[in-house]
Amino acid sequence: MLLIPCPHCGDRPEIEFRNCGEAGIVRPTAADDAAWTAFLYLRSNPRGLHAERWRHVHGCGRFFTLHRHTVSDRFESAP
């Protein structure tokens, strides 16, 4: 079980959190079908550092972004 660093509460066990997918996906205000489809469905799924959103759902309730290495599962600071 991971310890996840909530920027508001500090290190807390994984079961208090909910992963909310890749971070930095901008919701377009105007988009053609291709751009909208990319927003809906296309994600990077990298082998390496991955910016992802988490919510401390059973804690402070806040959403935040963390960078996790998908091989080591280590949280690292933004590249």
Binding site: L2, L3, R27, L40, R55
Partner: protein, 967 residues
């Protein structure tokens, strides 16, 4: 009896009675079942799974592959596959051997020699790839042959628990290195947890009292160290506790087995450690020769454990089969204890001179450069040729009842590997050693390849203090494992539990398997309950030897947890029965239970499904409840509905962006049925939005959607529109909701309502008032198509208000109804249930609710997706009503086809009920171009293959008697 008159760490003042296969035997406190069996001269404890050859106790530790027994504590406490070497003896222990047919002494399969030629490498794969039917022939035979114990057939009555713990240093393994590490860490002021899988700390020291540490006898040092640690306020010592899993961020899982008679049987520890010290030791290697699986063949190290720790002489006349120095000391000690040594047979042509000199001094014959093969009552020693084969014309017969194997050592790197640390091959150690760590962990002692006692202590002190380790020290040596298997007899057993021989592995390589992972799976080497602790290195050596490659070129199989088998009880802990998962009960649950309601789980909620009267089945009860609602009034506990209070100056803007509906024109005191989409345009949830004030809304969600809708709202509020001044609060558990539905519902509640003019409350209205004297939010809504109300009161008051409504409604014939009637009533009116009529692919228009969409709104979640071509295309599946032509209720989930023989599904039935109002079965379904097909017929394919004609109609089977939109 093989018990020596003195010595060992057993308590001779506490004799213990036990039984094995019905034989009454005696041992002592401090024995394991294995040591007690050996003390009683029991040498055959099981049989191999494939050839059914008799097997004895091979090891003295957790790696034991043969001595797996069933322990029966009575009353459902029957545990198969217990390693006798790890089971502490207790008074009254009942053990039975496994995998024998019909008995341990007489085994039909082995006697006939029947299994041997029939089950070559890859047998299972080859057999089950064969034409159909072949395995029907084999299955009964295989089941009997391959069975490993019997699963218990009664619920386990014992208690299991779990604990979380944190520490600065977790030391795994309480041998000399681990003890020294724990002592040193405790001295620095750190919080220490020391665990060991054995019942007693000490590790190899327990088997080697002749050693000395700091000028003291080993056991004196050991007793002092353990006493110091046990008395230390910052140290926790856990014995009989196996660290079996090493996760990320130094999170380890340990299984503790409590002493017999404890209130708890086992406990799961989940420990987060700042740093971890692995002192997990090493496991001895077997040698490959014909007969190496026989009872009486055991590891040399195990013999030393039986002798020194348990005062058991495991045989009268021993042969040492060695390719490594370490076994020699064991035969010297056995000789000192009174055993005869037939010979030392060493694979090496030139064993170290000091060992030769000691053997000569003791008068022990040494056959260097020799190997052995089995005879009925002993061993045949022969010289090894250059290619490793035995030279058969120069034999030497060695009568013996004990063959000790000393093939070198494999460091126990399982946990280090699980921690994602890299392993590196070391030629000098002839083993994979811990390399670059991935976490804050250090390996010391034998698991690092150090075999010198003083060096183990020094490494422990350094690791405990957190300083850098001294260099690895290795004193003993041997023939490389790859060279030792060269030319080995094909009948030699590599994996004694899964009955894999050297020839099985060679065959697999000849058949083209190169990867060690493939060879392992094809031959099942290392896939027995010991998970390769016995077989993996030797098997790897055979593969490397056959391929004529170096071991590190062939690779190593992945180490996965658990390190040793862990019981389901330990993993489940208290999460069984009613504690398996939380149960949520609405405020009227107790009342419903007292009425004899039948409940159904809805998520974690228990909801009353129907209220049968004497003699009623479900259909009769539901029909009566439905008729009451349509004819007079019904009362229903709707408290499980999700509720969210949406407050703030921008609340309207926020909800307009979240829901599809136009809400700006919703006046305070009114409410509206609303749909929530995902960004992909498909329906996510629905509910009622009630406006209480300009800046305050009472929003309901489906029972199952309560948490996810709030999460979604929070997501958009926090990350998309953080500028909006809105606050969200879950009020699901705050409000108890009493639905009163039916043409007489207004008359029922009128006497109870104060503070408003009830007659002036329009349909789809909401008002704050009191009901039965309790402050309430009264909604004039329903989910039945009848005039109705939902009374929201603080949950604690709900039972009292419910009683008041029941009393007031009694003259009107008010009837409690459950979720089943609710489902039928809404289906008669064509109302959807999200998750039943929708499945994540359904748009508002698909279910005929396109009119709810606020056409003038600039944006809402999912709006853009509704403009995608696929969402606007013709031929989408649409909600329709379905009337079966015959009188049976069709199956929910039945596929809809155009003709009985058609293989092209046009949709499926989403809901189906017997409708009391219409007196006939009705169904809702999603049907391709469904609205165009109204008036035609299609066929519903049942799961039994029947095709029943159904007529396509509007989903509104009945016209609303009351008013209001869907709600």
């Amino acid at each position: 009896m093989s018990r020596l008159p003195t010595g060992g760490r057993i308590d001779r003042s506490r004799p213990l009675q036990f039984s094995f296969d019905g034989r009454q035997l005696e041992g002592f406190a401090g024995d394991t079942l294995a040591s007690a069996l050996l003390a009683n001269g029991v040498t055959v404890v099981g049989r191999g799974t494939k050839y059914h050859r008799p097997r004895g106790i091979l090891t003295a530790g957790p790696e034991e592959p043969n001595a797996l027994v069933e322990i029966d504590r009575g009353g459902g406490r029957r545990e198969p596959n217990t390693r006798a070497t790890m089971q502490p003896l207790f008074d009254g222990l009942v053990a039975r051997s496994q995998n024998r047919f019909p008995s341990l002494r007489f085994d039909a399969a082995a006697l006939a020699g029947l299994a041997a030629p029939l089950l070559p490498a890859g047998f299972y794969y080859k057999t089950f790839l064969s034409p159909r039917g072949w395995h029907h022939l084999w299955e009964p035979v295989l089941r009997r042959l391959a069975g490993l114990g019997r699963a218990p057939d009664a619920p386990d009555p014992d208690r299991y628990a779990n604990r979380y713990a944190h520490c600065d240093v977790l030391v795994v393994g309480a041998g000399p290195a681990g003890l020294a590490a724990a002592l040193a860490a405790a001295e620095t002021g750190e919080r220490v947890i020391l665990c060991d899988e054995q019942a007693e700390p000490g590790g190899w020291l327990l088997s080697d009292p002749q050693e000395s540490i700091d000028g003291q006898p080993a056991w004196t040092w050991l007793d002092d160290a353990v006493a110091t640690l046990r008395a230390h306020p910052r140290v926790r010592v856990l014995t009989s506790t196996t660290a079996f899993h090493y996760g990320l961020q130094n999170f380890l899982a340990l299984a503790e087995i409590l002493p017999e008679g404890s209130r708890l049987r086992e406990r799961l520890w989940q420990i987060r450690a700042k740093r971890v010290v692995l002192a997990t030791g090493a496991i001895e290697r077997k040698l490959l020769f014909h007969g190496n699986d026989r009872p009486g063949a055991m590891f040399a190290s195990a013999a030393r454990t039986w002798l020194n720790r348990y005062a058991v002489l495991p045989g009268r006349r021993a042969v040492l089969a060695a390719s490594h120095d370490s076994g020699w000391q064991s035969v010297f000690q056995l000789q000192d204890a009174g055993a005869e040594i037939a010979a030392i047979v060493d694979w090496r042509a030139a064993p170290p001179p000091p060992l030769l000199e000691e053997a000569a001094r003791r008068g022990i014959e040494v056959l260097a450069g020799h190997g052995v093969t089995a005879l009925p009552d002993g061993m045949l020693a022969m010289p090894r040729a250059a290619d490793g084969t035995l030279i058969r014309n120069r034999t030497r017969t060695l009568f013996c009842d004990l063959v000790l194997m000393a093939g070198g050592w494999t460091p126990t790197v399982h946990l280090f590997s699980q921690s994602r640390g890299r392993l590196r091959w070391d030629d000098a150690a002839d083993a994979f050693l811990p390399g670059e760590p991935a976490q804050n962990v250090v390996c010391i002692g034998a698991c690092r390849g150090t075999d010198d006692l003083a060096a183990c202590i020094a490494e422990g002190q350094a690791a405990g203090a957190g300083t850098s380790l001294p260099p690895r020290v290795q004193r003993a040596g041997g023939l490389a494992v790859r060279a030792a298997v060269t030319g080995a007899d094909g009948r030699s057993f590599v994996d004694p539990q899964n009955d894999v021989t050297a020839d099985d592995i060679r065959l697999a390589v000849r058949e083209g398997f190169r990867s060690i992972e493939h060879v392992k799976r094809y031959t099942t080497t290392g896939m027995a309950t010991d998970q390769g602790k016995i077989a993996n290195m030797v098997g790897l050596a055979v593969v490397a030897d056959t391929l004529e490659r170096a071991i590190p070129e062939v690779g190593i199989t992945t180490f996965r947890g658990p390190y040793t088998p862990v019981s389901f009880g330990t993993l489940a802990g208290r999460h069984r029965g009613v504690l398996f998962e939380p149960i949520r009960t609405p405020p009227l649950h107790d009342w419903a239970a007292a009425q004899g309601a039948v409940f159904e789980p809805v998520g974690l909620w228990q909801r009353a499904r129907y209220f049968p009267r004497p003699g009623e089945d479900m259909q009769a009860a539901v029909a009566r409840e439905c008729r009451a609602v349509r004819g007079a009034a019904g009362i229903f506990d709707a408290s499980t509905l999700g509720k969210i209070e949406v407050v703030g100056p921008d609340a309207t803007t926020f909800l307009e962006r979240i829901y599809v509906n136009a809400l700006a024109n919703l006046a305070p005191g009114r409410c509206r049925y609303a749909l929530l989409l995902r960004e992909d345009g498909c329906i996510a949830d629905d509910g009622i939005i009630g406006r209480l004030a300009a800046d305050r809304f009472h929003v309901t969600t489906t029972t199952g959607g309560a948490a996810s809708v709030l999460h979604m709202m929070e997501d958009y509020l926090q990350t998309e529109w953080p500028d909006l001044r809105v606050w969200l609060t879950s009020t699901t558990e705050h409000w108890g909701v009493i639905a009163v539905q039916g043409p007489r519902s207004g008359e029922v509640i009128a006497p109870l309502v104060e503070g408003i003019d009830l007659a002036a409350l329009p349909p789809m209205g909401v008002a704050c008032c009191t009901v039965a004297g309790i402050g309430a939010r009264l909604f004039s809504v329903g989910f039945t198509g009848e005039r109705g109300f939902e009374i929201n009161v603080p949950a604690g008051h709900a039972p009292a208000v419910w009683q008041a409504v029941l009393q007031a409604g009694a003259p009107h014939g008010i009837t409690p109804y459950g979720t089943e009637a609710m489902h039928v009533l809404r289906a008669e009116r064509g109302y959807i249930i999200v998750g039943q009529e929708t499945d994540g692919t359904v748009t508002p228009d698909d279910v005929g609710l396109g009119r709810l969409i606020g056409k003038k709104k600039a944006d809402f979640i999912g709006k853009r997706s509704l403009d995608r071509p696929d969402m606007r295309t013709t031929g989408r599946r649409q909600l329709v009503g379905l009337l079966p032509i015959d009188a049976t209720v069709p199956e929910e989930g039945a596929q809809l086809v155009i003709a009985p023989g058609s293989a092209t599904p046009l949709g499926h039935i989403t809901s189906a009920y017997a409708s009391p109002t219409l007196g006939r079965p009705i169904a809702l379904g999603l049907l391709q171009s469904g609205r165009v097909r109204i008036g035609t017929s299609v066929f519903a394919l049942g799961s039994t293959g029947t095709a029943a004609p159904v007529k396509v109609v509007s989903p509104m089977f009945t016209q609303p008697a009351g008013e209001g939109e869907n709600g």
